[in-house]
Amino acid sequence: MQYAIIVYETPAELAAREDPARAGSYWAAYTAYSNALVQAGVAAGGAGLQSPSMATTVRLRGGTRQVQDGPFADTKELLGGIFMINVADLDAALEWAARCPAATTGSVEVRPMLPPPPNV
């Protein structure tokens, strides 16, 4: 089954990306994790996202377009990226989620993926 491993990081964790003292170990941890996914043959795609400060949010309300700097809402945990995996069952997916570096500080959500929409 295909699952999305959705990575939520704390602001402090995300800040490690820009912190020269911590960036090395931050990226090394994610590189090791995504390598492990690939080498175990379970990786099925994914994407890392830049910092939420780079985000712009768009809403259309009553014919008016609203454009906002930053993410949709202020939260303690911010979407950092997503890994797609192909494993036998939820137990296996949770095992991989627990290995994700964000599991220690932020949180990692596991969701079954919807099948692709039919071709029209």
Partner: protein, 430 residues
Amino acid sequence: MTTPDGEANREAIHAVELAARTSYGRLVALLAARSRDLSAAEDALSEAFVQALQQWPTQGVPSSPDAWLMSVARRRLLDAQRHDAVQARTLPALTHTQTELLALGSDVPNAERVLPDRRLELLFACAHPAIDVSIRTPLMLQAALGLEAVDIAGVFLTAPATMAQRLVRAKRKIRDAGVPLERPSPEELPARLEAVLEAIYAAFGTGWDAADGSDVLRADLADEAIFLARVVVDALPGEPEAAGLLSLMLYCQSRKAARRSDDGAYVPLSMQRVTDWNTAMIADAESLLLAAARVGRPGRFQLEAAIQSAHIARARSQRQGDRDNGVAIVALYDGLLQFAPTVGALVGRAAAIGEAYGAAAGLQAADEMAGLVDASVLHVYQPWWALRAHLLQRLAHKDASLTHDARTARVRAAGLTQDAAVRAYLLRED
């Protein structure tokens, strides 16, 4: 501001908490002894705890909290079954319950009466062959210790709803299939006891340090597992494997504090400060293992405990290169593999070979595991990668061409760990 009421309230709440911690399994085992209905027993007991929280602060803590809880829970159980019996219009269930209550003795709490301990019987039911292996440990943790499904789910990395559902199903099976809450016959005992011990060990997690940077301590219910093993050892003092399991877990737990530095960093076995080990626990483990060995019936857990004992003796004597001890550890692993040919034991053996006969021999043993263990298991087994990284690193000191392989294995081990401290240790800059 402390009012007398506040004081009494705190005291009462403390008494309820204490009873919940120390007597939960004892009471469930008694309540479900005849009916085999664990869910009903747990429900009745939790209602008794609620009532205790309401009454003890105003009426005082009874002189025998256990007997009080037992009496209330039994009444609740009877009410529930009477209700069910009336609804189903069947009397046998009601008569059955009344017989059961008579068998349990007077309904009037007697402060001096000591409640019989039937927790071992409860554990035997939880690890009955009719119960699926994967749910035995959660079932024990809930029935004997009162752990909530959501907490158990966390330990075993299962969705809480799924765990709750599996627990309900297993309890229904005990009730409906008539799984007895009894000690098995002497002929059956060895095999049945093995199942109980394995289920307890699963709560503990695999506990040895196979190699620097291996992440094998996953379940964090060490104290609970030790508690359950003590229940078994107390009830069956002559069983060497029960003592062996308790000894093994005490050895592992004795080094718990030494596994992390003051700032939370991972400390491999070879670097641990011997003074950080819990000597009382080690002494307890030693005497248990010694007594077990005298019975003359070796087994998996005694051998694992003996391996721990040898590691500790080795580190204590500060003779890291002691070849004799190293060879003895390899022999103990060979013995262990006769009883329990697990991936963990194979990795431990390869690590021991690396210590006794050199890194090249250890690496060869690790690589030979590919022929013994399914690749889909081995290639995601973190301790195997940590061991390979450790051995390759040692070899790379003489043969620089192995540096790349060592690094690859180290990154792989880091990618597979669930432990932030282990990850940081493996990804450290040399």
